[in-house]
Symmetry: C2
Subunit: 210 residues, 2 copies
């Protein structure tokens, strides 16, 4: 298909598609003339992914590039694509406090989780705990375990079905399920908060003003 059809299929303006081509995020098509090229289903798929990463995961261009580079890096085990993208972005700067790192350590131990020592997530979690402490809103152990319970229940459902696919599909599956299901989870959490908050106000209004 021509670039105009590619753009229409994905629902993006042609100049945007050309921009992604110039930036090297989208591979060039097969040349069929001096100024024309032919695009196929792989381009449609890649372009849909770029669009979703930009609009739904709200990544900046360097973030999209880091994710795509990690996906295309065949030397990388697929389950490390996300961690690698994070490291490429240098998302975590500086070291978290020893206290926060120790807390993360303890949580992983308590849960009996197998999580790589140098995992980006450990540091990112410790950084977040430091920030909450600095704002006098420390996350209690009880809250962390509530989150960990929820995370375990979610992960058990999510991981089933990933194995056994080829590397490209498995990597894309990890990227999509991490970056695009995150907004699903976060929006549901905010809706559940609104609901819990509304129900709580409602309950207090029904109580007799004794």
């Amino acid at each position: 298909m021509w670039i105009s059809e590619l753009a229409a299929t994905v629902g993006l303006p042609v100049p945007t598609v050309k921009f992604y081509l110039r930036e090297g995020l989208l591979p060039t098509g097969t040349p069929t003339g001096v100024t024309r090229a032919d695009y196929d289903e792989h381009h449609v798929r890649r372009l849909r992914l770029i669009r979703a990463l930009t609009e739904v995961a709200v990544l900046r261009l360097d973030g999209v590039r880091a994710v795509l580079d990690a996906m295309d890096d065949e030397s990388l085990p697929w389950h490390e694509a996300i961690g690698s993208a994070h490291r490429r972005l240098g998302a975590v700067s500086g070291a978290p406090s020893p206290a926060a790192s120790e807390r993360v350590e303890g949580l992983v131990r308590d849960r009996g989780w197998t999580v790589h020592e140098g995992s980006v997530q450990r540091a990112a979690l410790a950084h977040a705990l430091d920030a909450l402490d600095s704002l006098d809103h420390p996350a209690s152990d009880e809250l962390l375990h509530t989150y960990a319970d929820a995370a375990e229940a979610i992960a058990a459902k999510e991981v089933a079905g990933v194995h056994g696919e080829d590397r490209v599909s498995a990597t894309e599956h990890v990227v999509v399920s991490t970056l695009l299901l995150e907004p699903v989870l976060l929006n549901l959490r905010r809706m559940a908060q609104e609901n819990a908050s509304a129900k709580s106000v409602d309950r207090r209004h029904r109580e007799p003003a004794s």
Copy 2:
């Protein structure tokens, strides 16, 4: 305290603090001379929040501004601060598909949730479902309910304790618990995924190769 002490207390370079002052994100201190001003605990607190929103919630400057403006807008009910910040940012562009909107509608109905009709979260969730569909990774009803179960359990713990505070604290509480606890939840989810994935590989390796 002088600006140098303010910067040292929060752990930021003085030029960064001056930048936030110029940008109007941090209110100016009380003038004590032509080039000097006095800063207090309120500045420390606001600066810590700016730092956390930038580094932990990874918001861009316009995102930080939208959140702070919503917090400072006294006409706004505190629980709407986040939704308002999202609207100011114009995070959601275009309308989601009718099918996705209908699915969100059905989910809210099935759960018996009280969620505002025009809620930003409803549209954002529908957008995310559209993106997943377009990439052939649709979120199943089962997965959505797993997330909703987790979101409910989390929200019940989170909302307890918010009411009864003054508006400023309540608003800050909502901002902090939404934007800074999100990275906590997401990093725990990724760690739980790594664990579930590792355990699953481990289990298959232990199975006899019959």
